[in-house]
């Protein structure tokens, strides 16, 4: 019972991280129809940039070191995302495959330059004292507080995104853009500008994931591939462009990964892919995706 509860809680905290990263991927895909293959690279970029802000502050023992790193990483990822959309992807709107190839090229260059400047040593953030240590959880016992905070952040991101999409003017434009870009433009909305905003937001979410992920577990080269894969699978399973679908996909994949690792360690990867293949066979558009 205790073990089962721990595994489920582990799965949920992992799912929280997956949701934060994949929601950005799903958002960009939903409006822009861009498969952002550089999503993992943006995760990595934010992690490393955040770390270089965090490290000197942490060494001089300031309480806001982690928060500053978080802000820097997220802001940098957002600016990077906006720049990519402005400089490279914006003018080839509609050529989906070409855009995917451009982001692949970008991800190679970014990952390689990060390797050049930061080397291969893993980095890890230390969470601030307020969310460090452990908390008593019923049935589980002591559990890292930061992991619980992770779930809280994911919930906040989910609710925030839902409110943004359903209750604000920008959200209205985004939803209209998903259905009919041309008509939205004809209504006098600056669609390219909305695109830049969406890209910045999606990249910022990848960045947020990068900082949270690098606090929960060490950040190293290869994380870009891992989180790109996670984003792909979560979005394929949950359905493209749907926030609730992404959340559902993240919970399914996170739980499957943890339960699989507990029950049959060497074959756990397969479980994830069995889920993906089953969803594809029954509902190619994803569980909550629109046909």
């Amino acid at each position: 019972m205790d073990l089962a509860a721990t595994i489920v809680l582990n799965g949920l905290t992992l799912a929280a991280l997956y949701f934060i990263v994949a929601s950005g991927f799903s958002l960009i895909f939903g409006l822009m129809r861009v498969v952002n293959m550089a999503h993992g690279a943006m995760y990595l970029l934010a992690g490393y940039v955040g770390y270089s802000v965090f490290e000197p502050l942490y060494d001089s023992d300031v309480w806001y070191a982690w928060y500053a790193g978080l802000a820097a990483g997220v802001a940098f990822a957002a600016v990077f995302g906006a720049a990519v959309q402005l400089a490279l992807l914006g003018w080839m709107q509609g050529q989906e495959l070409r855009q995917a190839l451009v982001t692949i090229g970008l991800s190679i260059i970014v990952a390689d330059q990060l390797l050049a400047s930061y080397g291969g040593t893993p980095r890890q953030f230390f969470a601030p004292d307020a969310i460090f240590g452990s908390t008593q959880v019923p049935w589980v016992g002591g559990y890292p507080t930061f992991r619980l905070v992770q779930i809280g952040i994911a919930l906040a991101v989910g609710v925030g995104l839902w409110l943004l999409l359903n209750r604000t003017k920008l959200g209205m434009m985004i939803r209209a853009g998903v259905d009919d870009r041309q008509m939205l433009g004809a209504c006098g909305v600056n669609v390219p500008l909305v695109g830049v905003a969406v890209f910045a937001l999606g990249a910022a979410l990848a960045g947020l994931g990068g900082i949270i992920g690098a606090t929960a577990q060490p950040l190293a080269m290869g994380a870009d591939g891992r989180f790109l894969l996670i984003s792909l699978v979560v979005v394929i399973v949950g359905g493209m462009g749907s926030i609730i679908g992404t959340a559902l996909g993240a919970v399914l994949i996170g739980l499957a990964e943890q339960i699989g690792q507990a029950m049959f360690p060497t074959y756990s990867v397969i479980l994830t892919f069995v889920i993906m293949v089953a969803v594809l066979a029954l509902r190619p558009q994803g569980i909550l995706g629109r046909a």
Binding site: E96, L101, L106, D112, M276
Partner: protein
Amino acid sequence: MSLLGFAALLALPWLLPLVMPPGQAQFWTANILGRAIVFGIVAMSLTFLATYGGFISLAQMMIAGIAGYALAVCVDGAVPRIVGGFGYGAAIPLSLLAATAMGLLVGAISVRTRDIYLLMITLALAMGVFRFVETNIAWFNGYEGIRNVVGPTLFGFDFRNALVFYHVALATAALLYCGILYLVKTPFGLVLQGIRDNPRRVAALGYSVGLHRIAAFGVAGFIAGCGGVLSTIYNIGISPGTIGLGATVNVLIMSVIGGLGHPVGAFIGSLIFTVFDTFAASIYDRDRFNTLIGLVFLAIVLVSPDGAIGIGARIRRFLGAPRRSLQPASASSIRTAEEESP
């Protein structure tokens, strides 16, 4: 013309010493040309799908890896011994069968998706197999992989001889290349091109779009398998890194740099890639090869989406000599795939 080109390629190991020192010529034969042909075969399986079916599959390197792993698992003399007991004569056909089966499986899983969805699903499948192979010790010896797959002795010639390897690889590539050019003129190939241009119309004519797609992935799986077997013998073994994200993307880079308009683009791309790979040290920085090739790739995608072939065709047009175009009817498959999306 193409026969002459093939003869020139056959004689290349003896022609190279005429223009460069013998040591360097041997290096080119073994480390650049041989490798380029092997990579080119894998890239050609992607180009085949892209050119004639309009499918960009990122699973091709993984499928090549399946063939390589099947060979390493079955063949005698591999370290560590996992199944063993097969000679090369039996193990190689088995590996090709495994790759073809994997190709069919990938085709079946992705049969209802297209364009970027197909790209995402094939990438996810490739990464899934990679992570499985990397963590599984019992069958694939995990992170370390399987070593000492030295290759057979063919009519008294040892595969470890660079000249023998080069010629076997070249012959395989030429056979597969001619096979593709023949296949696309058969009824099957014509239906495949019909699917690329308009799947709905092909279905209305009474052809099964799904079955033709799966069969095309099977053919591509076989081609990738040939490349996988050769690359495993070339590397004297196989490890998960061979089918990782980097390797998967490299195959895509080769195909796109060369051009997705014609199977020959795969070999042009793989040659450019291998030359960059080998001489990155003298161009920029040995360790920063990825940045270099990434920039080249980005430049090609931004400037000439139909790759080196497209650049060549444009130069020919510019010079006013529109003799014969290398491209099939529709320009580049990057574009065709988009025009068709509903």
